[in-house]
């Protein structure tokens, strides 16, 4: 029973990571209707920056953590301005090629700068078993805690601040947003910055578990994508719920039903299943076009 509870809790910890990645995908999707395939590699690269700040720069974990979030935000902002902005009126295929280009560039750049060897990423949490319980560990508890805090902060930002409202308005209806004076292009770049920042948090939390290397986010992006689809690709709250569901399902199924080797196929089956049965996801809006 305790082992089962541990699987559930590990699932929640992983789910927090997937929820963050899914949220980053959904944020860019709602604003542009594009899936950023490079989201995972951007997060991986940010995690390497965090690693370098700690290992090469000798910074305290939390200082490096916050600094990395800021750097990731600026990076995401700059990528939108430099790479995506000139493409905004180009066909969707050009944009997808740009995403794939970014993916390859960040992957190669990370290996080139930081090396391809697998690295250990430190955890800021104590290693002793919490509450004398050997089925839990502090890193998982910390991961759930941090993701929940990040999600609440984001929720508050979008619901309660004028800038958050303006960003939502720009995503929902760019033309009307311009008519009230919102600088829609700037909001888009801010959205990219936020998505990159969220991704960097997910990367730094998961790197302790999966170890840091240039390919570490490949599987996680897939889970994140499955989570976003399950929750509804245009619904941020749904993406978060989807993340936790996928995390728990993947862990429990992996431990008791299909074995760890086939865990990643859970994500693929979910993606195909959702697209076949309920393309709008659990909480997504069905888009009906009037003609």
């Amino acid at each position: 029973m305790e082992a089962f509870l541990h699987q559930i809790f590990s699932g929640l910890a992983a789910g927090g990571i997937y929820a963050s990645v899914a949220l980053a995908l959904v944020m860019i999707y709602t604003a542009t209707h594009h899936i950023n395939f490079a989201q995972g590699e951007m997060a991986m690269f940010a995690t390497f920056i965090g690693w370098a700040l700690i290992e090469w720069g000798g910074l305290n974990f939390w200082v490096a953590f916050l600094l990395t979030i800021v750097i990731a935000f600026c990076g995401g902002f700059a990528i939108e301005r430099i790479v995506l902005r000139p493409l905004h009126d180009k066909p969707v295929l050009s944009i997808i090629i740009a995403f794939i280009g970014l993916l390859v560039i960040f992957n190669a750049l990370a290996g080139w700068i930081f090396g391809f060897t697998i690295k250990a990423f430190p955890s800021p949490f104590p290693t002793s078993p919490p509450f004398g319980n050997r089925f839990l560990n502090w890193h998982e508890i910390g991961t759930v805690g941090i993701t929940v805090v990040v999600l609440l902060l984001l929720f508050a930002f979008f619901r309660l601040t004028p800038l958050g409202l303006a960003m939502r308005a720009a995503a929902f209806n760019p033309e009307s947003a311009r008519l009230v004076g919102i600088r829609v292009g700037l909001m888009l770049a801010l959205g990219w910055g936020l998505a990159a920042a969220i991704g960097s948090v997910a990367g730094m939390l998961v790197a302790h578990v999966v170890y840091l290397d240039p390919n570490m986010m490949a599987g996680i992006l897939l889970y994140g994508f499955a989570s976003a689809l399950l929750g509804g690709i245009d619904n941020p709250g749904g993406a978060v719920v989807g993340g936790f569901i996928v995390g728990v399902a993947e862990n429990v199924l992996g431990a008791y039903v299909i074995g760890t080797e086939l865990k990643l196929s859970v994500a693929l089956v979910l993606i195909i299943g959702v697209l076949l049965v309920k393309p709008a996801g659990l909480f997504g809006r069905r888009i009906v076009t009037r003609v």
Partner: protein, 237 residues
């Protein structure tokens, strides 16, 4: 009276197709001017051209500043509010969020709060539906919402794109009564585009007649109202 808006030789279009072939018109400070015309005459394009939503050639001077070619966001900041074709509702947001967005560029928080009350005073129905998702409002309510959002800018000029479109006659009357109030009490100038010539000439002091991208007639509303061609083709009696 001073000119608030002075347009000379305005050309605009979409892609290769030119829709406006050189319009010249003006709007006096505090006045209501209407542009009448049939479907496809270029009425909506004229308004879109003024606030920078289509590519333009020619001169547009608003309150002494040349605004042709400027970005929509910057023209809005000068005090031009647009009640667009199709109402432009943010359907996923609440009614109040929609209204508040109208004041996005303003920094005078206290005055914004007062303006919110004022707008709700004009349209009490919106206040009742403050927390409702705006996409669920009726057509008339969404038209009121669009006007409210525009008023929250505290604009010098209100561009109105067929506020009567698709609405029941009683609602149209109510909306026009409020527009007249806003014009007389708050001195907001208006450029009104309408297919419904009767109601537009009832509220406007000047009128222009637009036909396939050219202005074919202009004058005070009284003159236009009594012109025989207009009466036959647009007023229907």
């Amino acid at each position: 009276m001073a000119k608030l808006l002075d347009v000379k030789g305005l050309r605009a279009g979409y892609g290769q197709t030119e829709v406006l072939h050189g319009l010249t018109f003006e709007l006096e400070q505090g006045g209501i001017t209407t542009i009448l015309g049939a479907n496809g005459a270029g009425k909506t394009t004229t308004l879109r051209a003024i606030c920078g939503m289509v590519r333009v050639a020619g001169d547009i001077v608003f309150a002494g500043q040349a605004i042709a070619g400027k970005a929509t966001e910057d023209i809005v900041r000068l005090g031009v509010a647009h009640v667009p074709d199709g109402r432009g509702t943010f359907v996923q947001l609440t009614t109040e969020e929609n209204v508040r967005l109208g004041a996005y560029v303003r920094s005078d928080k206290g005055q914004v709060a007062a303006d919110l009350d004022r707008v709700y005073h004009y349209f009490p129905r919106l206040k009742e539906r403050r927390m409702q998702q705006a996409g669920t409002l009726s057509g008339g309510e969404q038209q009121m919402l669009a006007i409210s959002r525009a008023l929250m800018l505290s604009p010098k000029l209100l561009l109105l794109d067929e506020p009567s479109f698709g609405l029941a006659p009683l609602i149209v009357q109510e909306i026009y009564r409020i527009l007249r109030d806003i014009n007389t009490k708050e001195k907001v100038s208006m450029l009104l585009v309408e297919q419904n010539a009767n109601i537009a000439l009832g509220i406007a002091d000047h009128a222009y007649l637009l036909e396939t991208g050219n202005i074919v007639m202009s004058g005070t509303s009284d003159v236009i109202k009594n012109d025989e061609t207009i009466r036959k083709s647009y007023l229907g009696y």
